[in-house]
């Protein structure tokens, strides 16, 4: 009953963009359907992504877009439900959009990959490319890989390896806490694998899966982590599952190292607060202080302009690399045609927006680019969410370091 009611606005939005679609087509924009949670517990994630995308797209369009056309992003709320994401895909293909983009939720990503595969096979003249901007379960570019799926974020195993390598020598007891779905299980498995390989001295003192987006008070978990005697917590949690976990840890005075994948996203810095100076680490493609550290004045000015305009951090500035790849891909393909663009994108090598080499691997369509292990601390130039603390780079991993083998057997269309 409730779900059905929720569909009405989505349908209205779809109908609305259909109306706009005709007008937009006349001007010839290249449309990207963006589907992520814009309501429900994870709404904040989709909402702040969308605002940052729009700023990035304005920049890309000011640089000429591609083939003389501008890019346009069309949002669809999927309420963190795969079924709603598939509705968004339907609307996107009905309007002949060449791209559908999705960042949050590997379970949704898996559903989208399957649906896009089927759709493209059945409709050779109306194909669509799935741009994955953050669903990082390892299997999506391995067992489940697809020609139409391009992943612009390093996958869970790569992040796990980076985290395990970043563990200091004196940390020998770690606690794993992850969300109970495709992605969290992937992190759980991958971290354990890399611990066995790289740090056999480390003992996993706790290994927990929590229901996705349901836990409102993490204090019981914090009690457990403390009782287990862990020195570090490794978690792939995102959205409220991450910020509430860290908040509960900070409130209880849990004095351990937090190794996270997403503490740098919206809500994370506020949850950590000033009490967490030097305790929390995150793996990120970008933080506003990286431009300062690398003395990249152009990027620093560009991210600062966003900050001046919006009341939140520009943590997703790294997504500029995604849109620059799409821009280059469309230009190289010479037509807004999904098949041609996909062929143009695979194996494409270019500089990411900070000027480091990046490549979309031909074998599995997985991006490899520079990533950073950031620590949240005092004394940085740009603080996060007005906490006075910000992300400073502790370690840099290059595209080459991240190159893990893939088991993908890709089927390519004609």
């Amino acid at each position: 009953m409730r779900r059905k009611l929720g569909l009405i606005p989505a349908a209205m939005a779809a109908a609305g963009s259909l109306g706009f679609g005709a007008a937009a087509l006349a001007q010839g924009t290249i449309k990207i359907a963006y589907t992520d949670p814009l309501s429900g517990p994870f709404a904040q994630v989709g909402d702040s992504n969308l605002k940052q995308f729009q700023y990035i797209l304005d920049y890309i369009n000011s640089k000429g877009g591609a083939l003389g056309k501008k890019f346009e992003i069309v949002p669809f709320d999927n309420k963190s439900q795969p079924s709603d994401a598939l509705l968004a895909l339907k609307s996107a293909t009905d309007q002949n959009m060449p791209f559908i983009m999705q960042c949050s939720g590997s379970n949704i990503a898996a559903a989208l990959i399957e649906a896009v595969d089927k759709h493209n096979e059945r409709n050779p003249d109306n194909r669509i490319i799935y741009v994955n901007c953050g669903a990082v379960a390892t299997e999506l570019t391995n067992e489940k890989c697809s020609f139409w799926h391009f992943r612009f974020d390093i996958h869970a195993a790569m992040k796990a390896e980076t985290m395990v390598r970043a563990l200091p020598k004196d940390v020998t007891k770690i606690y794993l806490l992850n969300q109970d779905y495709l992605f969290g299980q992937s992190v759980q498995r991958d971290v354990k694998e890399f611990l066995k390989k790289l740090r056999p001295d480390v003992q996993v003192v706790g290994d927990e899966l929590i229901p996705l987006g349901k836990v409102k008070d993490f204090s019981p978990y914090v009690t457990k982590i403390k009782a287990a005697g862990a020195q570090a917590l490794i978690t792939g949690n995102w959205g409220p599952d991450m910020s509430l976990l860290i908040k509960a840890g900070m409130d209880a005075g849990l004095d351990i190292r937090y190794y996270t994948m997403y503490a740098h996203l919206t809500g994370g810095p506020t949850a950590i607060g000033p009490g967490g100076d030097g305790k929390v680490r995150a793996i990120m493609p970008f933080s506003e202080n990286i431009a300062v550290e690398e003395k990249n004045a152009e990027v620093e000015a560009w991210t600062k302009a966003f900050r001046d305009k919006h009341s939140f951090d520009f943590y997703a500035a790294g997504f500029r690399t995604i849109f620059e790849f799409l821009q280059a891909g469309v230009t190289k393909a010479g037509a807004v045609d999904a098949t041609k663009i996909a062929y143009a994108l695979e194996g494409l090598e270019m500089k990411d927006f900070l000027g480091h080499p990046a490549i979309i691997r031909k074998g599995d369509h997985q991006i490899l680019s520079n990533y950073y292990v950031g620590v949240f601390k005092k004394g940085v130039k740009y603080d996060s969410e007005k906490t006075g603390l910000g992300w400073a780079t502790e370690a840099t991993v290059t595209a080459k370091d991240l190159d893990q083998p893939s088991t993908c057997k890709m089927k390519r269309p004609k």
Binding site: S39, G40, P220, A227, P240
Partner: protein
């Protein structure tokens, strides 16, 4: 011992929050016989009102004003909505409150947006109060315990030691007789409904910043509140209190205790291997089904003791 003490405190805080939310509902349910689906919506409204009011005049006035606003809305709903629908029977009332819950959710989404609002614990209570074996107990949690304990005592005193309380209790069981004695029973109904809604609003004020203030918070809290009310028994404040604490403690301890049915069977001398039938289900650890336990208890108590823990009437 350390884990036990800290979990006990955590469970108490959550249990008391549940009690604040469900005490109003148990009164409404037992008096009017209506499962008020919109009750958790009052909890949500309380949190949102408190957020908005605290932007202007701070948290402390909001602590008073937000529940009052919720109470007023409750009174209006009872006088202009429920009372009319009441004539058409319980199903109509049930559907009415269900529709209301959906409408309130949409209104909240339209007013405050789809994204969670930054409703925070007041700075004056944002410090660790004391420490149990190295785990800090936050001052705000102590404050929540204090408020809910005060509430329990004052409701109990009001119901058992005042004239109004006597009339309310009488109207619960013998509304016609109370009416015949010259009391305005509909007004008592309005009073109870408004009071119950205000209590839910109060729970929202202090629960909204402890948890997260977002449009789906009502639907997240709704089911567990019904479990508490039915489990505790109709018309029994004490039953409701015990049930709330029980659910709070069960959910907290379920997370901490890493056992499964397989471990239990092992104690009885039965070893579970992957070839045993239902091995998957039997070896699921308790933390992963913790959220389910209250509903299992609900089903069990309805089978064994349909009146609930301390109920005096049938559901």
């Amino acid at each position: 011992m350390e884990v036990f003490l800290v979990s006990l405190l955590n469970g108490l805080v959550y249990g008391m929050l549940l009690f604040m939310l469900s005490s109003g509902l148990t009164l409404i349910f037992s008096m009017m016989g209506v499962l008020n689906f919109a009750h958790a919506s009052a909890y949500m409204l309380g949190a949102y009102f408190a957020f908005t009011i605290s932007l202007y005049v701070g948290f402390w006035p909001a602590l008073i004003l937000a529940p009052l606003l919720c109470g007023l809305i409750g009174a209006a709903i009872e006088m202009y909505g429920l009372r009319r629908v009441h004539k058409n029977g319980h199903i109509a009332e049930l559907l009415f409150t269900f529709g209301l819950a959906l409408i309130i959710e949409k209104c909240v989404q339209m007013t405050w947006g789809l994204v969670a609002v930054p409703y925070r614990v007041p700075a004056g209570l944002d410090f660790p109060l004391f420490s149990v074996y190295g785990t800090n107990f936050h001052a705000y949690r102590a404050f929540m315990l204090l408020i809910s304990a005060l509430m329990f005592v004052s409701i109990w005193l009001a119901l058992t030691r005042t004239r109004v309380g006597l009339i309310i209790q009488a109207s619960l069981t013998h509304p016609e007789m109370v009416g015949a004695l010259g009391h305005n029973v509909p007004r008592v109904f309005t009073l109870v409904f408004a009071g119950g809604t205000a209590l839910a609003g109060l729970a929202g004020v202090i629960g909204g910043n402890y948890q997260v203030t977002e449009p789906s918070m009502a639907f997240a809290m709704g089911p567990i509140v019904f479990v508490v009310v039915v489990f505790g028994g109709l018309g029994s404040l004490t039953g409701c209190f015990i049930a709330s604490l029980l659910m709070g403690l069960i959910q907290t301890f379920a997370i901490v205790l890493d056992y499964s049915l397989a471990d239990l069977l092992k104690q009885l001398g039965i070893t579970i291997t992957s070839s045993t039938p239902f091995a998957e289900v039997l070896s699921v650890p308790l933390p992963r089904i913790g959220a389910l336990l209250p509903y299992i208890l609900l089903v069990l108590i309805l089978l064994v003791k349909p009146r609930g823990l301390m109920g005096t009437r049938d559901t």
